[in-house]
Amino acid sequence: MATYKITVNGQRRDVTVDPSTPLLWVLREDLKLTGTKYGCGIGLCGACTVHLAGEATRSCGLPVSEVGDQEVVTIEGIGVDRVGRTVQEAWVKKDVVQCGYCQSGQIMAAVALLKATPRPSQADIEGSMTNLCRCATYVRIRAAIQDASTRLI
């Protein structure tokens, strides 16, 4: 066990855990931020996507010992950001969610995409949105990203 100081959604937090513990489980179990989801544990599904120093990052394979002073933003914190809030609103407007389990990760990926590429083409969307949705809400995800993009410009 070791103690780490990490910054999550703008707050400094101390956590005492096994150094190999993935950031995902620190967020979920120690910080009680359960909006970030466990789906596969090996970075394939994207349900655990957070922003690490602004980059969409899969937290299930990232040991907490490697986070360092890079800022972590989760779905619980993304709404204070203009792009984040606009994407969340677009998700509601387009009625994207079904079971909703993957959608935290989808939204985090979409926000990162729109920050890097404010006017994404369909090919950009397809290239960046590599998160699995078993309910297959992909058509509405595409529409919501386009909707958010128009509202942000």
Binding site: P22, K37, G41, V97, Y101, S104, C133, A136
Partner: protein, 724 residues
């Protein structure tokens, strides 16, 4: 779970017991009890309130309990819409919550609290309208008394009763008075032309919590003192623990206990720890010596050979129509013989299987994302030696279900009970890792089909003999007596026996081999295989006859099969893009009668890197009155994506072990695999609503394969498609 139940007769004749009561905090609480004459196991022991269905609070807010789990299908929104319509509620004041397990929430047609079969709206429609209308009548009665006018002089709109002299009172103000009135026996329901909520595209109730991270799913349940449990399962179904080294892991940081537990079949080792990561590290390091002595090592290659041989012989006849010897009376040159192999499939819901349980000796409390709540409650009660009334079961939001959260043997609560018994008093959350989930069985069964067809002089099928080989879903379960007739599991051959094509000489027979791999009803169940077989063959026949695929199907379909005909006709009109395709692209279509819902789709396909690529899909659905068109569109779009899975992925076994363990080996469709556009059209209707959650699932894979055949001239009868 489903069976050939006649739905539209049942719900009105059933005796219902509605009770209104005032609640301490104020307002009107309506609870409901009803019995099931056909499945009356609990009819004589009606439960006491508070099994509240609808609560009108003094401030006018209305809370509606939904008796089905919300796992993405939108039931949390659609059933309250139905109540709110007849209640004339202000939709903005309506909220919904998931009902716990309870007799009051048992639902037709099975008489258990289940979410399956695309049934929730279909079987809840009439009943939920009546709830709303009865409560509205009580509120109107309370207002009429207050104003000393006749009820028929009052009207309601958006949560307010208005009197003849300009009086008005909100539902919240009237709730206490209404609670003291008798429940009306007879109510008049609205004319569909007057609907304000039903039929209007309505956004989901659960969008906001599912977009800001606040929605609690089962895996998010957190109780004081709760521990995490993981299970080291046998690598072969049914194997038992012979010995294991508990000491080696017991001393690991955070590990609380390590012990053997029984499984529904075989046994396993459970690890209980403070956190997930400790539990997983300990579980993964366990050294277990397994006893394989009495287990069957199922192997896909061996099963294929065995099934192929079986398919060459007639099975137990499930349906026979016309002349049994028709095939032998035609010349072989007019024959088409087709053999299909369709794999095991995992549901692979994104939220892995899990549940939380606290057992205190004389009572238990469980949090389960359960599709079969009262069955799971019963499994827990039996395993813990309790009465079901001592088991409180909270139904929790599920990150997908697709059938996997409803096995009849309640395998997950069975395991959780074994762990909770050992750590009595400590709440435990049993978590399956993705690998556990994917290798845990309860798959859509692998099936083999052999179909022999004699084609008539008019190019239409004259005789058709379909032999299906597939494990039964039901034989060996508690439901066997109810559903298995003459050794035939109707779920395995649905979509074949009940298709609406008028083939004069038609036979379906089935073999149900016993295999150690647990199977269950994946979204769209037997249709996922039989509709693939039917629709690819009908298409092949149309091509041979040089006929238009729509015209050929409409000619062969029963003239009375109006729903599927309507869907096909609408699809033809809405998919004119088929006539204007770029080079290298082709369109394929498929249709089905899915338990009375008519469904049809057209897919635009090409071949990219030797793989099928689906660019665009158009869906037409005839599902009776569309309660929430926005949700129907979502369900059809999602079902199309889900239905693509069998073209891409499979669960296979080698020497008894499942070969896939995560989304690399079993790859469901990602965005880049799914069509960029899925347009959904609904046939307008005021007929009673039908199911919408599953119907589009089975039509997409045949539509894609029919399109591919037009590009390549080849037929694809073995799934998944490794290369085009």
């Amino acid at each position: 779970m489903r069976f050939a139940y006649q739905p539209d007769k049942g719900h009105l004749s059933r005796r219902t017991f509605l009770r209104a009561s005032a609640v301490a905090a104020g307002g009107l609480l309506v609870s409901l009890h009803f019995d099931f004459p056909a499945l009356a196991q609990n009819a004589e022991a009606l439960p006491a309130p508070p099994d509240a269905y609808i609560h009108i609070k003094p401030d006018g807010r209305i809370v509606i309990a939904v008796r089905h789990i919300e796992m993405g299908q939108g039931v949390l929104t659609s059933l309250p819409m139905i109540v709110a319509e007849e209640l004339d509620a202000d939709w903005s004041q309506v909220s919904a919550e998931l009902a716990p397990a309870g007799d009051a929430y048992k639902a037709p047609p099975l008489g258990i609290q289940s979410t399956s079969g695309s049934w929730s709206v279909r079987y809840g429609y009439q009943q939920h309208r009546e709830f709303g209308a009865r409560i509205r009548a009580m509120l109107v009665g309370a207002a009429a008394d207050r104003w000393k006018v006749r009820p028929d002089e009052c009207r309601t709109e958006a949560g307010v009763v208005r009197g003849p002299g300009g009086q008005s009172a909100g539902y919240g103000e009237l709730a206490d008075d209404a609670a003291r009135r008798p429940m009306p026996e007879q109510v008049v329901l609205k004319n569909p032309g007057d609907f304000r909520i039903i039929g209007k595209s309505t956004r989901r109730m659960d969008s906001r919590p599912k977009t800001d991270g606040s929605q609690k799913f089962a895996l998010d349940i957190d109780l004081p003192g709760m521990k995490i449990a993981l299970i080291a399962r046998p690598p072969v179904f049914g194997a038992r623990v012979k010995a294991f080294d508990a000491q080696a892991v017991r001393s690991m940081e955070g590990v609380r206990d390590v012990f053997e537990i029984p499984l529904v079949k075989g046994s396993a080792v459970a690890v209980v720890a403070d956190r997930f990561w400790s539990a997983k590290q300990a579980r993964d390091q366990l050294k277990i010596d397994w006893d394989f002595s009495s287990v069957e090592r199922a192997d896909s290659q061996e099963l294929r050979a065995r099934y192929q041989a079986l398919a060459k012989t007639r099975g137990t006849v499930a349906l026979s129509r016309g002349d049994k010897t028709a095939l032998s009376k035609t010349t072989p040159s007019q024959h088409l013989v087709a053999e299909y192999e369709l794999p095991y499939l995992a549901a692979a819901a994104l939220e892995c299987l899990n549940m939380t349980l606290r057992y205190d000796g004389d009572r238990a409390e469980a949090w389960i994302p359960s599709q079969f709540a009262t069955l799971d409650q019963g499994v827990l009660a039996q395993a813990l030696g309790l009465d079901p009334s001592q088991v409180t079961l909270h139904v929790v939001f599920a990150g997908g279900g697709f059938g996997r959260r409803s096995p009849l043997d309640g395998n997950v609560p069975f395991e959780a009970a074994a762990i909770a018994k050992r750590v009595r008093g400590t709440p435990i959350k049993l978590i399956y890792t993705r690998e556990d989930d994917m290798r845990s069985g309860y798959y859509r069964p692998m099936t083999t089909h052999r179909v022999e067809i004699a084609i008539g002089g008019d190019g239409m099928p004259w005789a058709w003999q379909h032999v299906a080989v597939g494990q039964s879903f039901i034989i060996g379960t508690a439901m066997e007596k109810t559903f298995i007739k003459d050794g035939v599991d109707p779920l395995v051959i649905e979509g074949a026996v009940n298709n609406k094509y008028r083939i004069p000489n038609f036979e379906v027979s089935v073999h149900h081999p016993a295999v150690s791999v647990p199977v269950y009803t994946l979204r769209s169940v037997g249709h996922s295989q039989n509709t693939f077989v039917m629709e690819t063959l009908i298409d092949e026949l149309a091509v041979r006859a040089k006929a238009d695929p729509f015209a050929y199907r409409l000619k062969l379909l029963d003239p009375e099969a109006t729903k599927v005909r309507d869907a096909l006709t609408l699809l033809e009109e809405k998919s004119r893009w088929r006539n204007n395709l770029a080079s290298g692209r082709a369109a394929g279509i498929a249709c089905a009668d899915y338990w009375d819902t008519g469904i049809a789709c057209a897919a635009e396909v090409s071949v990219v890197d030797n793989r099928p690529r689906v660019h665009r899909v158009t869906v037409a659905i005839a599902c009776g009155l569309p309660v929430n068109p926005l949700s129907i569109e979502a369900q059809c779009q999602g079902a199309i994506g889900f239905g693509l899975t069998q073209l891409m992925s499979a669960i296979t076994l080698k020497d008894g072990e499942v070969e896939q363990s995560n989304f690399d080996g079993f790859r469901p469709p990602y965005m880049s695999d799914a069509p960029a556009a899925i347009d959904v059209y609904i046939v307008p209707s005021n007929d009673a609503p039908l199911g919408v959650g599953e119907p589009a699932t089975p039509v997409i894979s045949p539509a894609v394969v029919n399109g591919l055949a037009r590009l390549t001239g080849k037929r694809y009868r073995i799934l998944p498609i490794d290369a085009v």
